[in-house]
Subunit: 404 residues, 2 copies
């Protein structure tokens, strides 16, 4: 499949994070001739936090990870992820596969089974051929290296058209710490539960409950602000590991919080940029709402609307569909106070088309690859921003034809 | 545009409803050479009930109709509808256009202005050229006839590929009454607020508050159970007029209620069958949910899911996406009690693919034009049914290219 036109020019330069080693391999879970398993080893003392899908039908690995958060960090930890098969809706066999794989990883890496976190992404409802993965574990363990992150980012891809990574160095009290992250996902959910997976690593020192709170808060501001097709995966998983290897404590560090935000937002944007069939990157900014929650409702209604997204694909400055989305959002709205901008162009205000606005202005703006839709509700100070992409013929092709 | 492959074979035979007369004309609101205005006259004594969009940005005609429900029925009433321009987001000019048009209809038909109900459907944000409509009113008034309903059904079309009508005769206590209905809509919302409009007529006798309650309840079981693209129009309008000309009282008549349900469901299904780009008609049946509300959440999540709808377009029996939709719905769910059927074929149960199920069975079923997805939550007695269509390349084409 062709790389998304919205992809970054190249994979970023990723400095190693002390205490984190990566390996990847071809286990032939479903596809031949591509890496499909990643293994990560986390040094003793690593705190592990996580945010998971809220789906009522979430997968066996997600349930297993949820139970394991907050355990004793002293003996180190591991993460094992495969692509090609999601091990979701696989009943008791799915739980047995997770138990078996975590046991084998624990054995090979000499970490407790209760510290082995897994994820699976790919087709659902088919038994996970876990023996193929287990058979690769000795090779994976032998190959673990601090610079293996690009291979890991590639191993977790499914319908992604490019591997996703981001990195930051933070000047904290006491010295420099690093944050590195990788992600996969080409839709809030990609086909067949292909899932959004995010793994973040830092050598900073921070206690698990503080890390958990930080990650949860930043998730709400980044990954929970993107949407490709409004669907939600049974397997979405975000895990952050803080090895503490730098010895630098970042509890309550504003700089660390900001850098983590930047890394997570970068990764979230990359997921949108790889949205299935995407040709436009769209930022939806809502201000002036009655509350932040109302602003979020409006932003989501616009970003999720098939009519808005097809208009963007067609480069049509169809602001009427934005009005429609505001109206259906359930947020408090007053037509006569609403204003709508495309970038800096004032399109509508006071319940009517803006006097100076022409369709030609709007049409010229919509030809851009990056579109900003700004809605001011004119009511109070509530604000929210979301990111999405357009809805194109390629989305239909990918999703109507993927599995057959 | 080609007629939908899911359209009925022909326009139904529509018997006249005593007390109701129709006319239609070409007023060139936006398009030349097609009927775009319908006028309906309702005899003195007609009770008028209505259900409208809940959008916070609803149009000027909708707001006007809402205020007029429940007025004195004795002097008769009128309905005026144009296509081509929705008169939505047109500010004060929009309200003035409604005031002017209702005043002119009142004059021509000698009914009070407070009994003139209007609707406009088409492009939004452009001033309604109401003089073109007003200029046709004398001709329309002169042409009013009991058998004019097909012309009326055609005049309210926008992107609809066929006119929609349905009819029933009811044996009530005291004799036979008729119910006739017309509708337009080719999406829950069609492009540019093209709107769903529904007009129902009966010669039965029933007080306005009873009629209102009946219509509202049946709306929840019919039009509120269909979805094409999950978007909501600023102009959706359903109006029912009971002329009482038959002299037969249908208050509390089960037969009348059932017949009204059948007419409304028929029209609702026709709207789905004209869903933009639709090639499959899909019924989603949910049973065994914790509550009816939960069943409805699950049915809507499935019927609205772009991933489910593209899979149907691709004739892919991708039941994993149904599991995903159940999970994201917010309804109480237990993976291990869930069962999924495609028609009569048991696809999944007990948290796993059904033992006897093969992909070939599913693939053969998905080639049908009419698909039933049945989900049993295995929890309690909550039930709901929704209807939708598939999501195809043609939907993208229609909506990306409609206005430019």
């Amino acid at each position: 499949m062709a790389v998304s036109p919205l992809a970054p020019e190249s994979f970023p330069v990723m400095a190693p994070v002390a205490g984190v080693r990566f390996a990847s391999a071809e286990a032939h879970v479903r596809y031949a001739n591509r890496r499909d398993v990643m293994l990560v080893h986390l040094a003793p003392g690593t705190a592990v936090a996580g945010v998971f899908t809220t789906s009522a039908t979430r997968s066996a690995p997600v349930r297993d990870c949820e139970e394991k958060l907050g355990g004793d960090p002293s003996p180190g930890a591991a993460i094992l992820v495969n692509s090609g098969n999601s091990n979701a809706f696989t009943g008791r066999a799915g739980e047995e596969a997770v138990a078996e794989l975590t046991r084998r990883v624990a054995e090979v890496l000499e970490v407790p089974q209760a510290r082995v976190f897994t994820a699976s992404t790919g087709v659902i409802g088919e038994p996970l051929p876990h023996e193929r993965i287990a058979a690769k574990l000795p090779d994976l363990a032998a190959a673990l290296a601090e610079d293996g992150i690009e291979g890991a980012a590639r191993a977790i891809m499914t319908t992604d058209t490019f591997p996703k990574a981001a990195m930051a160095e933070v000047e904290a009290d006491g010295g420099t710490v690093r944050i590195a992250g990788i992600a996969k996902g080409s839709g809030m959910i990609a086909p067949d539960m292909a899932t959004m997976l995010v793994y973040l690593f830092t050598d900073a020192k921070i206690a698990q409950p503080d890390l958990q709170a930080l990650v949860k808060a930043q998730c709400d501001l980044t990954f929970n602000c993107i949407t490709v097709d409004s669907d939600t995966s049974t397997s979405d998983t975000l895990i952050m590991a803080a090895t503490g290897a730098s010895g630098i404590d970042v509890t309550d560090s504003v700089a660390f919080n900001d850098a983590l935000h930047a890394v997570m937002l970068d990764l979230a944007h990359q997921v949108v940029r790889d949205g299935e069939g995407a040709t436009k990157f769209v930022e939806v900014r809502v201000s002036g709402a009655a509350t932040d929650a109302d602003a979020r409702r409006v932003a989501r209604a616009i970003a999720d609307s098939p009519l808005v997204k097809t208009a963007i694909a067609g480069e049509d400055p169809n602001w009427g569909r934005i009005v429609m989305a505001v109206g259906k959002s359930g947020a408090m709205a007053d037509r006569d106070r609403l204003s709508i901008r495309l970038g800096d162009i004032l399109v509508a205000e006071n319940g009517f088309r803006a006097p100076g606005y022409t369709e030609d202005q709007g049409a010229a703006y919509m030809k851009r690859q990056e579109i900003v839709i700004a809605v001011n509700m004119g009511l109070a100070g509530g604000m929210a921003t979301m990111w999405t992409c357009d809805l194109t013929h390629a989305y239909i092709s990918i999703n109507a034809d993927y599995r057959s």
